[in-house]
Amino acid sequence: MTEDSTKDSNFKSFVNINENRSKLLAFILANVQDFDVSEDLFQETILEILKNGDKYDSSRPFLPWAYGISRNIVRRFWEREGRKPLTMRQEVLERLAQAAVDTDCELWREERIALQNCLEKLPARLNKLFVLRYGYNLKGQKLADRVDFKVGSVRTTLARLRKRLRECITTQINQVY
């Protein structure tokens, strides 16, 4: 491996990570189901990808290769933490993770931009819930205590929040085009 080709592979990896950041994060998140943990593992994945850039065959799609790396990192994480899920559960989580990201990259990009506008329009109550759940990563009873709801109501309101944002995103995208 020459110095130039190493640079090229790093460069390509950087481009690929940058373009597919959300999908890669989603893949890990679907596997571990926790925002904080998934972001830690995402950083590990980036470093691993850059370290192994020369092993990536650029004639093949980037994401499946990157998913493979992140899958190994997730498995390593379970072992390190000593709380490896049952094999069946792990298989299901991996299958769902694959399904979650099996969509067009541009859709992710468009929706990310539309979501920024939609979040501006949230009423104060939903905004608070959004920040606590998605920003501070509170869930279950802790989240319910903070917003003074019952746990069941929090779940329903979060579902309503997502529905509202989904409708707003669809409207925004249709308006632009």
Partner: protein
């Protein structure tokens, strides 16, 4: 499984509290039913994007991610944050390293990244004949074209130490490397501000082209504005070679100078002409007090700092009694010491009972409503101007508080205070100046008056469409009327705007004919003007790009609907305007076409 049961499972899954049995049920539903699979994908995509959105928001609110997670999660992720920062530095370094190396990859390399999009209308990227809306962190590739909506701005960081701030209604094409030592971009239309790191003669050259000129940059801060027939460059710092392609003339434009094509021989002119033109008929006021807040203390020094949530500054002005009504008030700040970029927000202060000597956190005014905003770069000695007319309408005392949205580390900006020679200024315009919607246009007109000779009386021109037609049942109809109704009937208008000088304002008038109706008429810029009313078809018709105006209400008999389209029509050229009506039952409205006596009109003030 019913939809309700599926939704319940999905919610439990997203909450991260799903049991093994529930997970197996969810998995089975997704495997067996494509609609559940699609629903799962949509919801999980949103779930992930919401997390990213929340983190961005918290960063913007200046709360600091590390602190948040420590206090709520009890986990020390400060080191993780440092790791992220380090990784970013490594990645940016890699890009620059690879870019500058001869072994760079040739296949559509990344030439930059979008740092920020502000305003309304959005910024699009045209890549492989497809247009995509872009936002923060979207990569820019060689061969991309970036288009900004009339009211949108895009801030981009390019490889090779270039920051580009693209103004509304502009288009820039990233040509990339044209030789081993030269990188080019083409500003096709509109205006952009460039900040370019200093270059040695043997280093990679950065060249900005316009349709008429080329600018070779050696490290500078400059603004470039191009119209179909002319280009103007304003250099704030450094030096550029400015070349007019059709005549071969070259001029060196240095700091505090500008040059423009189509003004006789190409020459560099001092910027004072611009400054004096800008202030003509205005009254300049200086703050009675100014100070900045830093780490809980107010400092009264030569600099006024803003720095994310850490530093902000306060200005107090006294507006004397003036004979005529105040029509416009422009606040000017001049950079001093620290350059930076980002969003500056200007707020009304809750009271004026303070001085720069006695200001403390306890007695400091609080922010009220936001009155102005500035997005983009603030370079060396750059003067930024914001319209504060919403606040300053009459005599009295006013407090203005200036804050910066957090962008990242080391991105503070400082401006001269009243204790320096580059202090804040408030320019008050009274009735003599005609009311105009856009300060930029007024500025341009003043500049034109000062540099091109004696004042001219406003010149108005009424233009009629060269072509008009409406889409009906999948075909374009070229009739004496133009009908609009939901998505079924859409009006297309094409105008040829001649070059008669600087365009100050443009208004479109449509006159009702045949069908009256009501609703919201929306006016869009069309994606191209390569059509005529004789050959228009669904396949080749332009599509709506940006909304440029709207009219809501009833359109009665012979009523004239007028919309301001100045945001779109501010320079000569061909324009397509598309008109739609929001759907509401069978409601439709018809206007006269150019084949009738009630022809559409475009009234242009030069």
């Amino acid at each position: 499984m019913t939809e309700k049961e599926f939704e319940s499972l999905l919610t439990t899954y997203l909450d991260g509290q799903i049991s093994d049995n529930e997970l197996a049920d969810l998995d089975r539903a997704i495997l067996d039913h494509p609609k559940f699979r699609e629903r799962f994908q949509t919801e999980f995509r949103l779930h992930t994007l919401m997390r990213e959105g929340a983190i961005t928001r918290l960063e913007l609110n200046g709360l600091g991610i590390g602190k948040i997670f420590c206090s709520y999660g009890g986990r020390n992720i400060g080191s993780r944050f440092a790791l992220i920062v380090a990784a970013c530095v490594v990645l940016v370094g890699l890009v620059l390293w690879v870019w500058l190396s001869p072994g760079r990859v040739n296949h559509r390399p990344v030439v930059g990244v979008c740092l920020q999009v502000s305003g309304s209308g959005g910024v699009m990227i045209e890549r492989n004949n497809k247009r995509i809306v872009i936002g923060q962190n979207s990569p820019i590739l060689e061969g991309d074209r970036i288009l900004s909506g009339p009211r949108a701005k895009g801030l981009m960081q390019l490889t090779g130490g270039v920051i580009l701030s693209l103004e509304g209604g502009s288009s820039v094409y990233f040509i990339g490397r044209t030789s081993a030592k030269e990188t080019e971009i083409l500003l096709e239309q509109g205006e952009a501000l460039f900040e370019v790191d200093r270059r040695e003669p043997n280093e990679n050259r950065f060249v900005v082209r316009t349709p008429q000129t080329s600018v070779t940059v050696f490290g500078t801060l400059f603004a470039l504005e191009t119209q179909p027939t002319r280009t103007r460059i304003t250099v704030y710092e450094g030096l550029v070679h400015f070349r007019q392609e059709n005549t071969g003339e070259v001029v060196n434009v240095a700091s505090e100078q500008y040059a423009e094509t189509s003004q006789g021989p190409l020459q560099a002119i001092p910027l004072e002409a611009l400054e004096s033109a800008e202030q003509y008929m205005g009254m300049t006021l200086y703050p009675t007090d100014d100070a900045h807040l830093e780490d809980g203390q107010f400092l009264n020094k030569q600099h006024l700092y803003v720095d994310g949530g850490r530093r902000e500054f306060y200005l107090k002005f006294r507006i004397p009694e003036v004979k005529k009504n105040i029509q416009k008030a422009i606040l000017q700040l001049t950079q001093l010491m620290d350059v930076g970029f980002g969003t500056l927000r200007f707020y009304e202060g809750s009271h004026t009972d303070w001085t720069e000597q006695n200001l403390s956190v306890e007695r400091a005014p609080e922010t009220q409503q936001e009155i102005a905003r500035y997005n983009g770069i603030v370079g060396p000695h750059q003067v930024i101007k914001v319209d504060v007319s919403d606040l300053i309408k009459q005599a009295g005392q006013y407090t203005i508080i200036v804050k910066q949205d957090p962008v990242g580390d080391f991105n503070d900006i400082s401006f001269g205070s009243k204790e320096s020679t580059l202090g804040p200024r408030l320019i008050i315009y009274q009735q003599q100046i005609e009311q105009q919607a856009d300060f930029g246009k007024e500025f341009l007109r003043d500049w034109e008056l000062a540099t091109l000779g004696p004042a001219q009386s406003p010149n108005q021109m009424t233009l009629y469409p060269t072509d008009d037609a409406h889409l009906e049942a999948g075909e374009f109809a070229n009739l004496p009327y133009l009908r609009v109704e939901g998505q079924r009937r859409v009006i297309h208008l094409r105008f040829d705007v001649p070059d008669k000088g600087i365009i100050r304002e443009a208004r479109l008038q449509l006159t009702q004919m045949n069908d009256v109706g009501s609703g919201t008429l929306k006016f869009y810029e069309g994606s191209h003007s390569d059509w005529s009313e004789h050959d228009l078809s669904v396949g080749r018709a332009p599509t709506p790009l940006w909304e440029i105006g709207r009219h809501t209400g009833v359109v009665g008999l012979n009523q004239v609907v007028e919309v301001d389209v100045s945001d779109l029509i501010h320079r000569p050229g061909l324009y397509t305007i598309i008109v739609t009506l929001d759907e509401s039952g069978d409601n439709d409205i018809a206007f006269g076409s150019k084949e009738s006596a009630l022809c559409p009109k475009l009234i242009v003030d030069y």
